[in-house]
Each structure stands twice: as C-alpha cells, then as structure tokens.
Symmetry: D3
Subunit: 244 residues, 6 copies
C-alpha cells in the first residue's frame, strides 16, 4: 500500500524545525510536519498560578489555537465565538500535562513557562506536532534561564515527543495526514519520553474498534517515529549550540 | 498489598445498578461503583443536530455533570460559573464517542438518544461509571423504541463498558477510588466492547511514566474488570425482562 | 372534587425525608413530595462573601438546579447553555432569603452554610420542597458545628417550611402537582416559620386574577400544610437523634 | 409617626406622569413617584417569540434596566458586566406577567408589545413604578394600533398598577422610599387590576416576620394606593385624549 | 441647499444643556442637540483601576449606552444580549481618551471620575454630544471636589468638545442628524480643545472617498461648531455659578 | 534627528511581502513592515451575512487577532478570556470598512470575502500593515474568482493602503515602530486609495494635542508613504503574474 503522499506506512512526514521564528519569546520554534505548521512560543512569567502560591515550585502550562484559515475551509475564530471548543481545551490540557511529565517543577523556581502553540497551517497531527515543538521551545526557554543565571539546575529531566498512529483498511500507519486521519478506523496519539516510556496514550476507534494485537503494532510504529523525532529535537538544539 | 477498602488489586468495587431511578426518562439507571454514584438518564429526542439534517441517520450524544457537593469539599456549580470546565467537556465527549462506537446510527432513524450522566456522589472513576451506566440507559431507551414499534431493527450492536486501571508504588490496580487515583503514578481509562476490542484508551502518567510491560499488565486487569461489568449490564437488563 | 391523584383538596402529597443521602455533605437530605424529589446538601465553608468580610457574622445562601431529565421532556442543561435562567436565579434567591429569616448570622460566626438544592425529579412544587428540605439540611449542618464544638450557640432560631396553594376552577388546592400547577388560575407559594408568621409570599395569577376572600382561603390551606411539614421536619431530625 | 418626607403612613409620594417623553416609541411615559423616575417605552414589533409562532396570538413582554448612576452610589453597568443580575431578571419577569394579566393576546394579533422600563433615578419602589408606568405606555401603544386600524378590538381588558407597602417599627407604611425600604421589617409589592383583584403579591420579611393581621393591614393600604394610581392612569390617558 | 430641518450647512442644531438632571451624581447634565438627548453623569469613585495602583495619580473613564428605544426602531438591549457591541466599545473608549486629554491626572489624586453617557433619544451625533456633555459633567464633579476641599488644584486644564461634519452630494455639512448621517458620503467626528487643537479625528468615507481639499472645508466647519459649543459649555457652568 | 532604527523621519520601514504563505486560503500574504509581521488570509465564502440576504450583492469583512506572544511580553489569549477586547473590535471594523471602500459589492455576487489578519509579531503599526496586506490577499482571492470564471467583472475598483504617522518631540515621523508609538505625542492612522483620497483618518493625541499645521505635515508624510506602499502592492501582484 502506497500512501497518497508516497510515504511508506512506517515513515514520518518531512520534519522541519525553525528555531527563533518569533524574536520576542524566550523560546520560539516553528515546527513543520509536512503541511502541518505549528508556531510554539515559550514565555517565562515570573509568577505562578494561585493554587501554587508559596509552594516553592514553578509551573509549566500550554495554550493551543488554530488560525481560522489554517485549514482547507475556514473555521470560526474562537475569540469571536467567545469560547474555546472542547477540542481546543482537551488539546491544550494534553500539551501541558505532557511537558510537566519531564519537568522538575521545584528546580524551575516560582515561575511559569507558558507555551503557546498556534497552528498556522493544519494537515492532521497538530496536537502531536505541538507537543514535539513545545518541548523545543521549553528547552530554549530553560536555556535562557540557565544562561542568565536565573536558575542553576536544569529543570528539564528528559525529552518528550508525540506522534499519531492509526489503522486504515487493516494497515497500521505512522504520522497520519488530514486525509488519512479523517478516513481511518482508529487513531492513537502517543506521547513518550526519551526512555521510551509512555507519558500519554489517547486512542480512539473511529468506525471500527481495534484489538490488542493491532494496538501492539501501533505502539511499535509510534516508538519508531518518536525515536526519530527525539533525534531531530536534539539536532535542533545543537544547531543553537545547546547540547542536551 | 491490601487496598484501603480491603480489595484485592484485581477486584472491582461493589457494583449496584438500579434501573428506573427516574420515572420520566426513556432509559434511567443509577449505577453505584463503591461510593461513586452516577445517574444516567437517556432521553429520546425526535430531532438530530444540524450537521446531520436529512442524512437518514440518528445521533447519540452525552452530557456530564457533577453536583457541587458530590465530592469531599464543595466545588463551584458550573451553571453558576457560566461555563463547563475543560475536564467536563473532555468527559462528555468521551462518553458520546464510546456509545456511538456500538451504535448503527442509520438503524436508529432521524432521532437522538441524549444521555445525561450526573454524578450524585464521587469517589473516583466517575467517567468510567458514566460510560458503563450510559450503555444500560441507552439500551433501555432502545428497548422503548422497539417495544413501541418506532423502529424495528435494534441499532445497538454491542456492549460498551469502561474501567480505570493504574500503577501505584509499582503495583497494578483495578478500579481506583479517589484516594488511589490522587496518589497513583499512572492512570489509564479503558473502554472496551463485548468482543474485547478497544473503543478508547486514555492513559496518563502522573509523577512517573510507565513502560510497555506495565501497560500490558494494566490492559490485562482492565479486560478482566470489563468482562465482569458486561456481565452485570446483561443481568441488569435481564432483570427488566430484556435479553440482549 | 377529587384530584387526579385522589387527594382531598387540603391534603399534602406523601412526604418522605431521607437524611444522609450524600455521605460527604455536612447536612444532606433527599426530600420527596409525591413525585417531586429534591436533594438538599448543606456545605459548611470557612469563609464569607466579600461584602461580609470582617463583620463578625456568617452567611447562609443557596443554589438551585434541575437535572436536565428531571421533567417529562428534557430541558437544556444550564451549564451547557452558559447561564442560569431567570427562573433558577429567582428560586435560589428565594431559598436563601427564606433560610436567612430564621438564622442568627452572628451566632454562626464567620462561615457560610451553602445549600445546594438539586431537583432529581420534578412534578411541581420544587421551590417549596427545596425550602422545606434545605431547612433540614441546614439543621444537620448546624448540629455538626455544635457537636464538633465549632460554635456553642445554636444559630437556628426557628423552623421554616413552604408549600404551594392555588385556585383551580374556583376551588382552593393544597400542594399542587405539575398537572394542577400548569392548569390553575392562581398559584401562591407560601413560606412560614414555626410561629405561623409569613417569611415570604409569592402569589401569581395565571389566567384569572384572585380576590381578597380567595386569598384568605389559600392562606388557611397553606398554614394547614406548613403545620404538617414542620412536624415532619421535627420527626426527621428526631430520627437522627436531634431534638429541636 | 411622621415619615422623613413628612408624609402620612397611608399617603403616596407625589406622582407625575409625562406622556410622550421619547418621541419615537409607540407609547412613552416618564413616571415619577417622588425621586424615583422610570422611563417606560412601549415598542410594537411585528413578530412574536418562537414559542408562539402560528398560534394566532400576540405577546406582551418587558425589560428592565437601571442607569449606573440612578442611585446614591454608582452600580456596575450590566451591559459591561456581560449579564443581567438575578434581581433585574426577577423584576422584568414580574412586569411582563403583570401586563399580560390584563391583555387579550388573541385580540392583539401576531405582534409583540415590548416595554422597556429604564430607571433614570431610583429612590425605592422602582418595580412598582415600572408596572404602573408600563401600563400607560402599553395603553398608548394599543391606542396607536387602534387609531391606525391595525387592530379593531381593544386587547387591553383592564388597568394594572402596583405599589409597595411595608411594616416598619410595627407601623404599616404605603409606598416606601429607599431609606424606608432599606430599614423596614417586611416589604410587600402588590399588583392589582381595576376590579381590585390580585395580579401578583410578592412579600418578603426582612429582619422580622409578619403575621396574618399585619398582612391584612398592608393589603388595605395597598388597595388604597392602587385605587389612587389607577385614577392617575386614567387622567394621564385623558390628557392625551384617550378615554379608557 | 436647505437641510431637512431648515438649517444652513454651517449651523449647529439647537443645543440645550440641563445641569443637575440626576440629583445623586456628583456631576449631571442632560445635553440635547436637536433630537439627540444624552444624559451624562459623572461619579467620583475613591479608587483607581489596578494598573494605576500606587502611582499617585487618578483616572478618568467613560461608559456609553443607548436605551433600546432611543431610536426609530427598537434595538436589542446590550445587557440582555450579554455583551456590548464593537460600536459601543469604540465610542466609550473615544469619550474616555478625549476627556483624559484635558486632565492633569496627578492633580486629581488617587480617584476616578467615571462618566456614564446614556443616550435617551438618538438622532445622529450621539458620540459627539456625549463628549461635549461629559466635559460639563466632569467639570461639575471637579467643582464638587474643589468646593469640598478634597483637592486644591483644578485638574481640568482645558475644554473639550466634539462635533460631526460630513460631505453630502458634494456639500460640507455641520452637525449631521440621523437622516443626513445615513446618506452622507463621508462622516468625520472632530474633537478639539479650547486652544483649537485636535484631540481626536475620526473620519470615515461612506460610499465616496474624500480628498484633501474637502477635508480642509470639513475641518473649518468643525472648528466653527466647536467654538460655539465651548461657549455653551462656559455658559452652562456660569449658570451654576462656576466660572471656568 | 536620527530614529532608533537609523531611518529618516519620512522613510518607511523595510517592507517584505510573501504571497502564498498559507496554501489553503484563496488569497494569502505575509506582510512584514520591519519587525511587524501580519499574516493576511482571504477566504471566499459562498454566503452573505443575514442582513444582505437576497440583496444581490456580496460582502467583505475582516477579523483581527494577535498571537499571545507576538509582543515583548505575553498578552492574554482572547479565546481563553472569552471575548475580544475593544481594541481588537475597533481594528477589525476599520479593516473591513477600508476594504469595502474600494469594492463593488454587487459585482462580487452573493458571496463574502472574509479576511483574517493575524499578527505573528508586533512592533507597532499592526492595523496599518493589516490593511495594506489585506488588500493584497483580497486581490488574490478576487483573481481566483476571475480565473475560475466564478465572476466576470473585477469587483476591486482601486487600491487601499495604510500607514501611521505621528508627532514626537515636535517632529513628524512616518511609520512608527512600537517604541516611537508608545512615546509619541500624537498618532494618526491614515488609509488612502490609489487616487490619493482619504478612506479613513484616525488621529489621537497622546499627551499633547496637535494643531492644524502639524496635521498638514502629517498628512503629507502619510501620502508619501502610501504612494510607496501602493507601488509595493502592485509589484507583489505582478510577481504572481497579476497586473492590476
């Protein structure tokens, strides 16, 4: 089976990472996975949310948005509708949890790393690209803190990256684009750390449920893709002179 | 390791199912899993959402809520705050998707089964109890349609039930209560159908990530619990004279 | 004239009071007046609203909600609509005022008794059942404070209970059910204390206005019903070993 | 007992009615009861709310607002806060119900009389002044329909007017101003029609509950005041050449 | 060319200024420019917005609203819709900026002059009438502070007034009414101080763009009108015994 | 006087226009004016707003947004706050009006060109860059309609472009960056068409009011800048093979 973009079933889309896309953010990355482009900007805020007041620890959180015409047809602007959709909230909660899984919040000190993931163009897999890009933006922001002697211990304990896998017509596929995502039978988003442990698994059957053996193939594919994404994260930081 | 409520690690909490709790809903069930009590009411609405207009199919959807004092300390009332939290939206989207996975929407005809899951008391696992109970409420509502000759083909293709599993101090646990849920290292909600296929998997690491072998044990535990829950669903319907 | 449920015009519906329905609230009561079932949970909050800050007194307030399928046909969920209806706000303001009329707020100390009245099933008279039940929940919460030596003076000065009366086809009726309520000419909700004084009167003509002599009969009926409800409140507390 | 404004306990404040205050509305009245000034504008809208579509009848409804600096100290603007308070909704529902009690909605035809009651200055009793003024605005709008031959039967069946009465230090008082209203023991708003029947009664104890005999005195006072207000309504219309 | 209301192209509508319209506000003015009537109430609040906390200066701000039936046909009430329109926000921001341009905020001290401009009747030019009236209300409030020795330096440095000008069928017109405003080719709102300097210019082409020479004529007309309005402001204050 | 970025007072910042930045929009342009970067995407929607239903004409409208970390410090996300600020609404209304001033809406047919202007990076002048870029995006979308024979008459009648000018320390400046904008005495945004006529003028004094002669210099500067911007618009289209 050849995919519409001539990829093999176990091949990622072409990945490009442009660090420093925005000049004001403490960490900024434009990540492109094929036609999915996400701008991830990490801001350092010298405050913590109220529930962490005086707890001697920091916080890492994320917000997610999609430009109205990131997609094939225009969607409503959430700011104009007056609220974020359930999907948006679900995604930004996922990004935040994934990042926090590899952070030592005490070492961060009483400050927040707030990561904005804004989808400039969407062709499937935006939440996974957001997580992979957000980690780089966070690492750049952490480097900014270390270089400026704001903190002296690196609070970032490990990598985190994500990829989607799915079953379509009985075949497992890695890194689905929009067309594949809309027509697949099952769609699983996997978030893993550098030790190849699970940070998050979100699997959803669409049309046809999937069994244990299918899940196992999907997990193999995901681990393969995430290994590659973590190597690309290392390279992107190395290009900035940061060795992690 | 003995659990705080003296259960074995692979044992469900005591489950009680009271059908017909509300007398007006077409399908009504109060499901109790230990101290977690969820009222699931299924309403038949003779209309479909706008995006399904004239598509010769029906819809199944869910809403979720928690009474302000369902929990140990009072939470704000969502209606008073003026919006549903991201958590609430995430859960009600999950319940709806899980139910639709076992429905033949064309056989349902142009109508909606709207399921309200309201948590009267919460001791962990409310989303899983909601799914398991919602299926029974939906089955009762479907039976109502069949008995009144509104439809002649059963649109319900299979069971669906859910349970949480988690890792705590290196041990796998089935059906976590609130205390276990707040202190565990990983929390995975599993939704399966009667053929023991996955409908949804939502796994989240909390504090410590989990590896592939741990995931495999958790999936075994979940399958064990869901098998039991499906038997209880069958029994609850049989008690109403419905053999499914 | 015999009523649809075979009651006499001056007879209450069957009343059942189940204390301790929720196990976490400081005071919890499920009150059933016929097919109207309201869960009243009283929470003790160790804070007061901003306008009472440093005024050496407490506060008693209430919120009211109705489960979407409490009624014959499903209503929208207020949390999903993003706001409470005018009717909901009117009712919860009424419950709060009624309770405060019998409270010595200084004796309560700087804390709030927050009562949630959630209608699980609705067959008319939900605001009156809420008030009658809320008083019991509040009394249980007060007893909790006294027993734990948080306060030493009982801040609850008297009973408060409520009932609806109405004119239908020229006849006065006590404790209207939904069918009677929707077809009556006048509907008056009466809230009284144990000294048979008025706490609140809310009378509304529907279709036909009512004159002074009709009002007098309605007030007689209400006093009769409230006398009985207060006896039931006393009994419910006595069953918990509380003599008020 | 002499009142702060030297009135007798059973005397209304000075009432002034200025018809045609706004030149665009089909019916417009500025009613002044002492320092309480309410602008009541009735608009004729050639549509009915959705729930009355194709029911061969019209609708009468009201909205209520208070200018931010109508009062001694500035209140928040409801449009800026983004929602109407519970009090506002309660009042506008009351005004609408009171007006509908004297309307033959079928005779009105499929149109709406929408009455806006905006308080320009507030010194107590704004809801009662709104009802009394709204009736005149509605009568002017009805006259506009009759004179333009839009309808041929007068849909207005009777007068409706309102006044507040209250107990203060054991004395009954008619038409309370703000100072009296804030310090009284009981506050009852009475709405009556021209046949001296009750349209609405809203009685609230504040501080001290009131008994049956006190209620009877208050009802006598209210009837006295409303008789006078209805005479003033007749005069205001007669000044416009309308004999009702 | 004679205008519909028989004015010359360079003549203001009849202006009436009624100081003290509301008796509670520290400064209150009803300004009428023809059929446009705006009530401007200035409140002195002994607090500043959070961003000015401890900055040893005050603040001047404005809110704008229009009664639903101020216009020929009824508009929705913003409080009922739950938000202010973009037009409302644009206007109230303009009024606030215009007033602040002539205030010495340090001399005002840590307090706010909050001006509410409520349009009772609208026939075009409501934002300009609001600014001209708001200045008088502010001056009255400042006088209140000076007379009560709350401040000792007058923080009001100059007059500010506003007028609209427009091009219609090739002719410049001063002070457009609603009919002219809806049919003109260009509409320019000019705000000037007493030194005939510009505070704000808001010019909008409607249908036909305007060139530099047309702009120059419009600016001449505006200066002519504003000179007259400032004289009327002086007179209005002088009538209250305030010489500015 | 040399400016911080070494520009002459009458020189635009470096302008770069990248057409086709987003691949899905019918017209897409990333416009950079120095460090201000705005993505302008034009979508063709085959519908018109309700108020234009069956009026045989189209509509052109715009929405504006700024990414949270487009600026030196992070701002709140409007979608998360649940509403657009007054500033955002003011700007998007301005962009829409400016574009409509050069459109023949009848020639567009019953469809909408909806332009989204999203600020990726902000260094002052974002509303002007949005207008200049939005015109190019609209022209590309119009070209798409013409090339696909959806319409046969070009509805775009002229160019429209915008620039800010301001007075700082007595000197006029063209195209202010953020630092200049925050410290200037007066800030005027000018929108002009290709015939050098005014489409919009929005002038605001900040700190010091400006007189007629200063305004004249500012208008000269603006005309100079807009002439250059229109030449750049022509070039950007020519680069896409479109000669306008």
């Amino acid at each position: 089976m050849l995919r519409s973009d001539h990829r093999d079933s176990k091949t990622l889309r072409s990945v490009q990472i442009e660090a420093g896309f925005s000049q004001y953010a403490e960490g900024s990355v434009l990540i492109k996975m094929g036609n999915t482009h996400v701008l991830c900007n990490a801001s350092i805020l010298e405050k913590v949310p109220p529930f962490l007041k005086d707890r001697a620890q920091g916080w890492v959180t994320a917000e997610y948005g999609m430009l109205p015409r990131a997609t094939h047809t225009r969607s409503d602007r959430e700011a104009a509708r007056g609220k974020q959709t359930g999907r948006t909230q679900e995604i930004q909660r996922l990004i935040g949890r994934s990042l926090r899984a590899v952070f030592d919040l005490a070492a961060l000190g009483e400050r927040t790393i707030h990561i904005d993931c804004d989808v400039l163009q969407a062709d499937g897999g935006t939440r996974c690209a957001s997580i992979t890009g957000a980690w780089i933006a966070a690492a750049l922001a952490v480097n900014h803190l270390l270089e400026n002697d704001v903190i002296d211990t690196n609070p970032l304990k490990d990598h985190v990256a994500a990829v989607s896998v799915g079953m379509k017509d009985g075949n497992a596929l890695l890194d689905l684009n929009y067309e594949e995502d809309s027509s697949c039978d099952a769609d699983v988003n996997i978030v893993m750390n550098g030790a190849m442990q699970f940070v998050e698994i979100q699997g959803t059957s669409e049309g046809r449920c999937f069994d244990r053996s299918e899940l196992n193939v999907l997990l193999d594919y995901a681990q393969h893709g995430i290994t590659e994404l973590i190597a690309l994260q290392k390279q992107a930081l190395a290009d900035q002179g940061i060795h992690y």
